[in-house]
């Protein structure tokens, strides 16, 4: 590893990296409020501008992005993040607006918000969206609050349980808990799908609703979806669509048409906004007509050609400071306008074609636990021919050596050696063929050089890390680190 410096280690007392205007009113001094000032010294760096730029450029070289190479991370939809979106988000007046500015001076921002929410509604087959929720998990929480509010408004106080298949993403049950409801987990059938009998068995007048991802977390379409939504509705519950896997459905199916009442969309997955190393994302929540009153405040409304901001009395309340991650919303809208109805409809089909092609080409080398076609992502369960007991982790780490990002591993939990591959529609046949070749090479290495795989990666900035040490030592800051080094002598 070439570069191994923390920004604090570049610091030298008295050095600066900024330039501010001269003091305009030097007659005022912070000493006038001295009793309110901190006395603890600040452990912040003092560095020049070049040192700062060089430092962050150097550490950026240790990262892998979508533009570095193939990034088939299952359930994350790592598609290309178009440059025009970035340009749009940074240009013009959008960055400079204060949300409390007079409404007449933010008409463009409000129109953007309104048009995007309406466009998402059309794509989803729902009635209205809020864009205020900041991320997918945040959207889940907001959607569940709407579900709960709906039952409370009808004075149906018993409904406090939410059905979730055992294959769901961990955020689903966690969001239910935070919304103050209870999780009822149902087991999937041997095909990895919702078991209708298991569903029937838990339906009652205490059910608030059901959360479902479709295609599910195994990357397959729940073929009984119409029966599922019908059964839950008959029992008085609402259907929540987790939009994590919406990419596969673009152009083919709308959640509203499948019978879902509430959903969230991850703009950072389906609508191409960058993941940013873990955020900011955006998780708009859409609802059918009978639930629009419960959408969180503030709400953007339209009267003729005038846009305004309203706070509604039946709303679940406020769940964000303002209008969500507005600049992320702008990026997503740019993407949708660029593709338009003619191209957006191919996102699903091409992403599904890419995934099935990989599925077909690797099925002799990696165990295929599900026999039907997959949707936008394919799950394998370890190696077919594996005399040396090479684990999925080793395969994933070895991929890093070949300049590709690892797929999602050990999820879904239903299989022990899960490898979940999502190629997205933006990858070319050449890239995918190269990935397939690499996966085959690794399958071969598993037989001939198992030690290489067990130690992989060998060509990355660092090798495998000691996670037990990190969890036990709990060194979270530079201050902790200095203390640790001092004690170690």
């Amino acid at each position: 590893m070439k570069y191994d410096t923390l920004v604090f280690e570049l610091s030298k007392s008295g050095r600066i990296g900024y330039s501010l205007a001269k003091e305009q009113y030097p007659q005022y001094s912070l000493n006038d409020i001295s009793e309110y000032l901190r006395t603890d010294e600040l452990l912040l760096p003092e560095i020049s501008e070049l040192d700062c730029v060089r430092h962050f450029t150097n550490i950026s070289q240790k990262n892998f992005g979508v533009e570095s190479g193939f990034y088939p991370l299952g359930s994350c939809t790592m598609k290309y993040n178009p440059k025009i979106n970035e340009e749009i988000a940074k240009s013009y007046s959008f960055t400079k607006l204060h949300p409390y500015q007079p409404v007449t001076t933010v008409q463009g921002a409000l129109r953007l918000y309104y048009e995007l929410q309406q466009t998402l509604a059309k794509i989803s087959g729902l009635s209205e969206f809020t864009l205020n929720s900041y991320a997918g998990a945040h959207g889940e929480l907001v959607g569940l609050m709407i579900m709960k509010q709906y039952h409370l408004q009808r004075k149906d106080f018993k409904r406090n349980k939410v059905i979730i298949p055992d294959s769901a993403h961990g955020t689903n049950p966690a969001s239910v808990t935070v919304s103050g409801m209870e999780v009822i987990e149902i087991e999937s059938n041997e095909l990895g799908m919702v078991d209708l009998d298991a569903l029937r068995a838990v339906l009652s007048d205490e059910i608030a609703g059901m959360m479902l991802t479709n295609p599910n977390t195994l990357g397959i379409f729940e073929k009984d979806i119409c029966d599922i939504t019908r059964l839950v509705h008959e029992a008085g519950g609402l259907m929540y669509y987790d939009g994590a896997n919406l990419n596969a459905m673009l152009g083919k199916v709308r959640p509203g048409d499948m019978g879902f009442d509430i959903m969230h969309i991850n703009l950072h997955k389906t609508f191409s906004t960058p993941h940013g190393g873990g955020g900011p994302g955006s998780g708009p929540v859409g609802v059918k007509d009978f639930l629009t009153d419960y959408l969180p405040n503030p709400v953007v409304k339209k009267l003729d050609d005038y846009y305004y901001i309203a706070n509604e009395k039946d709303a679940i309340g406020q769940i964000s400071g303002y209008f969500g991650n507005f600049l992320v919303e702008a990026r997503a809208y740019s993407y949708i306008l660029n593709l338009g109805k003619e191209n957006l409809k191919w996102v699903g089909p091409y992403s599904v074609l890419n995934a099935n092609y990989i599925r077909e080409k690797l099925r002799n080398d990696y165990v295929l636990p599900i026999q039907d076609y997959c949707m936008h992502e394919v799950v394998f369960d370890g190696l077919v021919d594996n005399p040396n007991e090479i684990r999925t982790l080793d395969v994933a780490k070895r991929l890093l050596d070949y300049g590709m990002h690892a797929p999602t591993i050990y999820f879904p939990l239903l299989f022990h050696q899960s490898i979940m591959i999502e190629p997205t529609e933006t990858e070319s046949l050449q890239t995918i063929d190269q990935f397939i070749e690499t996966m085959k090479t690794i399958a071969e290495e598993a037989k001939t050089e198992p030690e290489t795989l067990r130690q992989a990666p060998l060509n990355t900035p660092i090798s495998r890390t000691d996670e037990v040490f990190a969890a036990k030592q709990m060194i979270f800051t530079y201050k902790d680190y200095l203390e640790y080094i001092r004690n170690e002598g």
């Binding site: 950026s60 749009i88 607006l97 769940i319 409809k345």
Partner: protein, 444 residues
């Protein structure tokens, strides 16, 4: 064909042939016919890149950029140019959450550096890798307090930003916790009134300084009062102000939270920003969100990894301490670059200049005899005055001159009927300040 779809006709044919099918539709055979989309989306037709640009330019022109003399949680501070250059790098911009530490040391290292900076600014022991914004960070801090104290009620100081109060209320209400609002006296938390609200069900108190009015609150002895009843003190603060003001740690707080927007982030109509959340080490397992820790790799090299993940939703599911699954990582980078380039001295200089500008404006406004200070409390860069001049008149007059400021607080509470808020950062020039004054001096 479209620029983001590399599939040629030949490619598609070849792939279908490998799959032994004749059309992509066959892959969707398990989708029931009645839900298959049989029409075009009712959305706009495809635009060229040039048309997209023009579309957003037109949208942008329906907005008006104003000179900002208001805050209320979002501050118009100066942004050093290096930040955009660094945060635009694809290695940072397009990567995912750092699950594979071998190819994510860039992200993990800046998170570690960010946690270190939040630690020193807040005086807490440990920070997470960030929350969505200051309001949701405050709500999560209240959940933490309930979990730490194993009690059910949160006391909310009425001097918190109303947005923060609203979000906390929503979160607590749905989760099934209780809350009460503790009143203010002279614009700051009423300590005497507080004692009447404290009881054996109180999990914690959340306070804000500088508060919604911009006033600096005094917390001597407050933490002791809460700790005597085994309750928790949560302090919410605009992070930039902690560069000079007494830290939550110095005030004895157990949890610190707030927004990092003031670290030069664009106002951006309110988002994205980033919330910080920090606490004492003994409470670290009650803290939601990602945490990065130091370790070594198999060759003994210094490395960073996400750690204490067993608290999180992907492992604990319904029993996780929060449903949060992401952080605002790119804005963690933003904050880290800002605090690196401004450094120890710069963060003080920003506060000093903001203080000077704000106090100059304050003195001049009082001299007009049209504005009065109902509170008489210390402040930093934001202050609240009382005036009988119509707030709409002020808004209109300033807007005509391209200024947004002197924001009426009447919309938040009947008690705030005559109150009007100003914030002045280091960015405001003498000319802008004089222009604002000349408009206001002309009103009656």
């Amino acid at each position: 064909m479209f620029k983001y779809f590399p599939h040629t006709k030949d490619d598609i044919e070849l792939m279908l042939k490998e799959l032994n099918i004749s059309s992509i539709d066959e892959l969707f055979h398990s989708v029931p016919k009645e839900v298959l989309l049989d029409k075009e989306y009712e959305i706009a037709s495809s635009m060229s890149e040039q048309e997209v640009r023009a579309y957003f330019k037109a949208l942008s022109e329906e907005n008006q950029e104003l000179v900002i003399f208001s805050g209320l949680g979002l501050y118009d501070h100066y942004t050093p140019s290096v930040i955009d250059a660094i945060t635009s790098r694809q290695e940072f911009l397009t990567s995912y959450t750092p699950y594979q530490p071998e190819v994510s040391q860039g992200t993990l290292q800046y998170i570690f550096e960010y946690q270190s900076m939040i630690q020193t600014l807040t005086g807490m022991d440990v920070s997470n890798a960030s929350m969505y914004d200051g309001t949701t960070a405050a709500a999560e801090a209240c959940f933490m307090a309930c979990s730490i104290a194993k009690r059910n009620k949160i006391l909310i100081s009425s001097t918190l930003n109303p947005n923060t109060i609203q979000v906390i209320k929503t979160y607590l209400k749905f989760k099934g916790h209780e809350y009460e609002i503790v009143p203010a006296k002279n614009g700051v938390l009423d300590r005497e009134a507080l004692e009447a609200y404290l009881d054996k069900d109180t999990a914690g108190l959340i306070v804000q300084s500088p508060n919604f009015f911009g006033l600096i609150e005094h917390y001597d002895g407050l933490a002791d009062l809460l700790h005597e009843t085994k309750a928790v003190l949560i302090q919410s603060s605009d992070i930039s102000t902690l560069g000079v003001l007494k830290s939550p740690g110095e005030n004895g707080a157990d949890i610190a939270c707030g927004d990092c927007q003031s670290l030069g982030m664009p106002l951006a109509f309110g988002g994205p920003t980033i919330g910080y959340l920090a606490t004492l080490k003994k409470h670290v397992r009650k803290m939601p969100g990602r945490i990065c820790g130091y370790t070594t790799d198999s060759s003994g090299r210094r490395s960073f990894v996400l750690t204490l993940q067993a608290r999180e939703q992907h492992i604990r599911r319904a029993k996780a301490n929060s449903n949060i699954c992401s952080n605002q990582s790119l804005l963690v980078l933003y904050s880290t670059v800002y605090l690196s380039i401004m450094g120890k001295q710069g963060i003080k200089d920003v506060n000093l200049r903001s203080y000077q500008n704000a106090h100059y404006l304050y003195d001049r406004l009082l001299k007009t005899k049209k504005f009065f200070d109902p509170f008489q409390q210390p402040f930093l860069k934001e202050f609240t005055l009382e005036t009988t001049i119509s707030h709409d008149l002020i808004k209109e007059a300033l807007w005509k001159e391209g200024i947004f400021g002197g924001f009426s607080l009447a919309q938040f509470s009947d008690d705030y009927e005559n109150l009007i808020n100003f914030a002045v950062t280091e960015k405001r020039t003498k000319e802008e300040i004089e222009k604002l004054l000349s408009v206001l001096e002309g009103l009656s």
